[in-house]
Amino acid sequence: MTKRLNALAGLLASVGLTLLGLVIITFLIGRVMPIDPIIAAVGDNAPQEVVERARLEMGLDQPILMQFFHYVVQLLHGDLGRSILTKNPVISDIARYFPATLELATAAVIVAAIIGIPLGVWAAVRQGTWIDQTIRVVCLAGHSVPVFVLALISLLVFYAALGIAPGPGRQDIVFQDMVPHITGVLTIDSIIAGDWDALWDALAHMVQPVCILAYFSMAYITRMTRAFMLDALRGEYVITARAKGLSPFSVIWIHAFPNVGVQLVTVLALTYAGLLEGAVVTETVFSWPGLGQYLTVSLMNADMNPVMGATLLVGLVYVGLNLLADAVYRQLDPRVR
């Protein structure tokens, strides 16, 4: 029991330290950036009195250490401050933007895993054949073609030329303001409201950005799966299994793959965390109001409260997914227990 408590305390301390480190670095970046946040707050042309009053209200007249101290105290009270640009509490902004990213990232990682893992396994099993080479080229394209090119081509082909996919945005105008905002995840909100047309519309709008993001992530997952699988297939237990005359299916999926699964959990967790940071380019081309856009626009305006709030959230996501991966690890690999 004491051992468990100690482990928990150690875990909390390491999470706390990670987050504190994140806050310090982000805060310092914000303060050394050569952009005056006042311009974002009151505009370039505001008279000097207004500028000075805003500087005072925002606490920017104080020494940097004091500013940091105030921020941390505020943070410990659960207050992420207000955004200069949107004038809303950062927490409510994040509550609006993050679900859009969550929806996209979750769908993308699921699609990427469902396609990427079997492809990786297949490439490993057929190592050196044309199948392996084809998968390698497909993955290489996924990694090397810029996302905005893929996104624009996708819009051009499926939306503009073929007319089989909806245009940019999360919803068609017909459904604007129709689904009550409960979780912010449009598909879930549509299900809660029982509005199946809205759900279908939301899903249709997700197809293109999800496929683009999934393609990018899939390329990584496939390559990693292939590498892990090649390693596993060289294992003595696989040779033994083959020598026993087991079917190829059984050798690959029952004997080799479970060992790869353990490593894949980490890959999937990191891929998912990366997607949850928000994919700025995809969000921009598809006008998807997600965390990536919010973070970028805030950063460009030196609006540091949202930047720090979003960075903390991303940090938490990473820590959370790492912990989750560790837990899954323990379930999959008896040696870690």
């Binding site: 950036m33 050569p34 952009i35 005056d36 311009i39 974002a40 009151v42 505009g43 370039d44 042309n45 505001a46 008279p47 000097q48 009195e49 207004v50 009053r53 640009l85 949107t86 004038k87 809303n88 902004d93 609006r96 933007y97 624009l152 819009l155 051009l156 939306y159 503009a160 007319g163 089989i164 996919a165 909806p166 245009g167 940019p168 945005g169 999360r170 068609d172 105008i173 017909v174 604007q176 303001d177 279908w200 519309d201 249709a204 197809v207 921009t284 081309v285 598809f286 006008s287 109001p289 856009q293 919010y294 626009v297 460009m300 305006n301 030196a302």
Partner: protein, 532 residues
């Protein structure tokens, strides 16, 4: 027989075909809804007495009316909006406005002089960014209730601190900050002493043609027709959709998912400029591209160097090759479409003349200098052409590209040498730019009034006095003539190389009418918007 393979194939096909069936839902937009694809980021508030950025101002100006409005076709004239008539006393300090009697707020309540008085007092008391436009007339939190008063339900009296040019006052009253809000509706929603600011940021209480139905930041703004509006277009709702990427805006316009695209660049405009399916509404807007030369640099402080730079630039070439559809050559500080505008363009590329001026300044072999510019297109392309132009006369320019706000921050700290930026006007009166380009009363680093002239450390008493005199001139025609002369004299004798004026385009599908652009963002209008 259904095996695993055929089952998988048929389910894949089924999902594909059911997805294509959805395309019927992506047809043209409904007749009574106007869909506008536009970049809506950087919008902070739809309270007209607080918001001061372009997109927010444009939306507010479609929701609210003012006492007067500038005439879009004849900038030197001012029309009544809520005011039926107005007159100034002989002392030039007391102005009386008579209101039209038929104006109604969206709630159905009539617009009274009390609402107008409250609406002009409110920005002064709140003192947010745009308040200085009204505060120029001597109003303060303490005296504004006395100086702006309703004397009866249809009469409003404004008393200024100093004798004031009526045209200056009227132009300032045409700005968004003078928008009329419904006093009762706003005060009912007030929290503490915020005068309803928290509520009005995301709601509306106006008498303009449109009312705010919903605003989802970074997604959309929805405007519904004011049931009491007097203009009758067939559009009942406008949906402004936040579409960041101009290419995506063009695709939506072509597919009929958007009726209007607002942020197309030269690249996209080239595709549709000769296409009869689209109507391009174009207007020169109050955004001037200018190279400012910091006078802290002793070389740039020499008048001959300033002139040499102006004569070395290939204005026509840049316009024709880099920005043919988004800018026109403009070399004076009042944009076309403004009262007092002049269209003179005396400077053109003359390398020999520029070299001679440089030699006269004591730099026959040129010099090295840095130029900051925005990193967003078209600035990098223009900066590179400027670099090549100046290289022809021996000036070696080092280009420093940075994010818009970063460039402005550097300029406000007066740390630049040459800097290529855009300057937008604050309100529809010549003084807005005249003061910025001419006046710098205190050149110290902690000065209160940090005009463009201050940012370049440039002081010229003659121009400052003449700008002040023009501001106070009470005869409107003489006033305009004074500004025209200041601009002509300043072109050759200032550290500002004015180059281009931005031209905005609203690309509309051919069945759309009633979309109008103004010189300032608060005069872009959807009044009477219709779809055939």
């Amino acid at each position: 027989m259904l095996n695993r393979r055929t089952f998988l194939a048929s389910s894949a096909a089924a999902s594909f075909f059911s997805y294509t069936g959805l395309s019927a839902a992506f047809a043209d937009t409904p007749k009574d809804i106007l869909v506008v694809a536009q970049q809506l980021d950087n919008m902070t508030s739809l309270d007209p007495h607080e918001g001061f950025e372009a997109v927010g101002s444009e939306i507010s100006s479609n929701i609210y009316q003012k006492l007067v409005k500038a005439n879009l076709d004849k900038p030197s004239e001012i029309d009544g909006d809520l005011a039926a008539s107005w007159e100034a006393n002989a002392d030039g300090k007391t102005f009386t406005f008579k209101l039209k009697k038929d104006a109604k707020f969206a709630s159905g309540s009539p617009v009274t002089a009390e609402d107008v008085a409250f609406s002009l007092q409110r920005p002064v008391i709140m003192n947010k960014s745009p308040a200085f436009i009204i505060n120029q007339f001597g109003f303060t939190k303490d005296n504004v209730a006395e100086r702006i008063k309703a004397t009866d339900p249809h009469t409003l009296v404004i008393v200024t601190a100093e004798p004031t040019s009526s045209s200056f006052l009227l132009y300032c009253l045409s700005a968004n900050v003078a928008s009329v809000v419904e006093k009762k509706a706003v005060l009912e929603k007030a929290q503490g002493d915020d005068l309803g600011n928290g509520w009005l940021r995301q709601n509306s209480a106006g008498s303009g043609e449109w009312t705010l139905r919903a605003w989802k930041p970074s997604e959309s703004v929805m405007l519904d027709a004011n049931p009491h509006r007097q203009t009758k277009g067939n559009v009942k709702r406008i949906i402004l959709r936040h579409i960041v990427d101009p290419s995506a805006q063009l695709l939506m316009l072509q597919k009929g998912d958007a009726d209007v695209a607002r942020n197309l660049t030269t690249e996209q405009l080239r595709v549709i400029k000769d296409d009869a399916n689209y109507n391009l509404v174009r207007k020169g807007v109050a955004s001037l591209m200018v190279i400012s030369m910091n006078q802290k640099n002793p070389i740039l402080a020499k008048p001959q160097v300033q002139q040499a730079i102006k004569w070395a630039l290939d204005y026509q070439g840049i316009q024709k090759n880099v920005i043919p559809l988004t800018h026109v050559v403009h070399q004076s500080f009042l944009p076309e479409g403004f009262p007092g505008e002049i269209k003179d363009t005396p400077f053109q590329k003359d390398v020999a003349k520029a070299k001679a001026l440089l030699a006269e300044a004591g730099h026959p072999d040129g010099f090295e200098i840095a130029m900051d510019h925005y990193s967003a297109q078209p600035y990098p392309d223009i900066a590179q052409t400027i670099q090549a132009n100046l290289a022809e006369i021996g000036i070696k320019v080092k280009l420093l590209s940075a994010e818009n706000r970063q460039v402005l921050t550097k300029m406000r700290a007066r740390q630049h040498e040459l800097i290529l930026t855009a300057w937008g006007s604050d309100y529809f009166d010549p003084n807005t730019n005249s003061e910025q380009f001419c006046v710098n009363t205190d050149n110290s680093d902690d000065a209160r009034n940090r005009t463009l002239a201050w940012r370049c450390s440039w002081q010229n008493k003659d121009f400052a006095d003449r700008s002040e005199a023009a501001l106070k001139e009470r005869d409107p025609a003489k006033r305009i003539a004074l500004y025209e002369q200041i601009q002509r004299d300043m072109m050759a004798n200032s550290p500002f190389a004015l180059m281009f004026q931005a031209v905005m385009t609203a690309a509309c599908r051919k069945n759309v009418s009633g979309v109008r652009l103004g010189t300032l963002s608060d005069s872009h209008s959807y009044t009477g918007a219709s779809k055939a």
